[in-house]
């Protein structure tokens, strides 16, 4: 279950990295947008850039295992959620609105390390997104230092 401070961090506009893998244990990466934690802190919904035919799309469709990392561009803080993709579907209007809001917040995060808006905008993919709802099994603190990797 995610604590309120972790929920706030996840939804603050930090970068979101999604990992899945195939049957050959080949990992695949995609960026996630617009994460939202459920009221009970036990599930997470977000948009994932996963065009049809991409490894990310087929992994999501064939294999529920998923990990989602959260970190600001300074990488001074990081958190990872692991679990199973319980729902994979077309994003609805709320999903897309959250993705767009995340893009704006992410732009501000990138500006803090001097990255101009056009650079952070290039990292956003607003099309061919799928909505993924994750049932959270594990949460890890990945903030650099001696406590990195601690299970929360």
């Amino acid at each position: 279950m995610l604590e309120p401070a972790a929920v706030e961090f996840i939804q603050s506009g930090v970068a979101v990295g999604v990992a899945t893998c195939d049957d050959e244990l080949t990992p695949s990466f995609s960026r996630g947008w617009g994460p939202e934690v459920s009221g009970d802190g036990r599930s997470l919904r977000l948009c994932v850039a996963a065009p049809a035919g991409s490894p990310m799309r087929s992994n999501l469709e064939e294999n529920a295992a998923i990990a989602v990392g959260f970190s600001p561009p300074t990488i001074a803080q990081a958190l990872q959620v692991k679990g199973a993709a319980a729902v994979v579907c077309e994003p609805d209007a709320d999903d897309l609105a959250r993705a767009e809001q995340h893009r704006r917040l992410f732009e501000a995060e990138c500006a803090r390390i001097g990255a101009p808006a056009e650079v952070s905008q290039r990292m956003f993919v607003g099309e061919r997104l799928v909505a993924v709802e994750i049932s959270i099994a594990e949460v890890y603190d990945q903030t650099p230092g001696p406590t990195a990797g601690r299970r929360l």
Partner: protein, 463 residues
Amino acid sequence: MSELTVPLESIGPCLQGVLPSWIVTCSREGVPNATVLSIVRYVDSERVALTRQFFNKTRANLDANPQAQVVVVDPGTGDQFALDLRYLHTESEGPIFDEVEANLTAVASQMGMSDVFRLRGVDIHRVLRSEPFGETAAPMREGGAAPDTLPLLDEFVRRLTLCVDYADAARVGLEALDDLFGFAYSVLLTADERGDRLFAVSSNGYVPSGVGAEVPVGVGLVGVAAERLRVVCIPSLVRSRAMDAALRESLRRSGAEPSGAEIELPGLERVQSAAAVPLLARGELTGVLYLEAEREGEFSPGKERLLRILGGHLGAALAVLQADRGESDPAEVAQAAVPPGDPLAVSYYQADDSVFVDDAYVVKGVPGRILWKLLRECGADGRTAFSNRELRLDEHLGLPAGNDNLEARLLVLRKRLAALECGITLDRVDRGRLLLGVSGPLTLVEVPTTGPMRLAHEPPVSG
């Protein structure tokens, strides 16, 4: 030649660590893992290196399943590239490890976190596939787009060869780095005789100049470059500082304490990236060229190579001019009448050879001893003309034979006096000759010490 769709050489800016990268791995049980990492380093056309610091799960996964994918970002365009990797092995010594370790140590030392940043190893990965990621198209091949640096290097060397003395080369060298290569902020530091400290003799772009500032060897970016004899760079100081704050917080939570205070960088308030280049002569450290920039990622691998070449030429020119002792006897002992200005109260502290004029600190150490000698002789009989040679032969000054750094010490002294406008000046009037200027009668006070420096100030035992 690389068979990769996107050659690693074509995405150099992505491999500087300006913007963080993501790495994903997978355990043997099929559990994926996503982690950010600060830098994916270029090794050669088929391999990259990742540092092993805090990525415990990533490490365990790679040991069980060597497949990984990283996504890197171009800090100038936001273009992204996915690299499919196969973990090969971990190196804990050798040239790649040494290079990465020197940079990490420099960053850690700069932030006062030397005990936390311990590089365990460098993971070497083969790049199986490299593709544009997201909305990115394949990068344009650069066909000789980079400016031709040879004419600029030619001009840099030409300007240095025209320099007549050490001070001239120190000034011209830094100005040329700015004019020709756009390195607008630079500090030249010289190693002291004992080899454990560096002191700033010249700077370009800074107000105040910072001349006279000292840096211990082994501490901070400058000190680590001097200790390891390697060029070290910080691509993003904003991220380094944020990381530092996070590490301190993490240490606090774990009950440990950071090892020391942050070493203040000289210079720019808005510094974004920095580099330190060791200067060598006869295989030994003679100084460090320190550079700062207001832009992240300014000191790329290509620039590092350029800086090594520029540092080589600058170091050689300074060494030649330092060795040119310009020995000449004072033809006549110039004596000036007591000047009519306000009296100057000068205090000299034996404990650290520091000199104060009207309570304002001027200089300490060897330049302090030199200034005190000149002022004492001037105060005794009005003498104002001196020669380098007599300074070298004065045993009270304690200049080591062979490598006395006298030119660098005099440069620091002259610049400090000029900047302070304290009524005392020291000018070079000819090869190896100095002219002391005082604006008023001198009142000299020597403050003795009972500490460890006492013996150095006792008269020699006769017989």
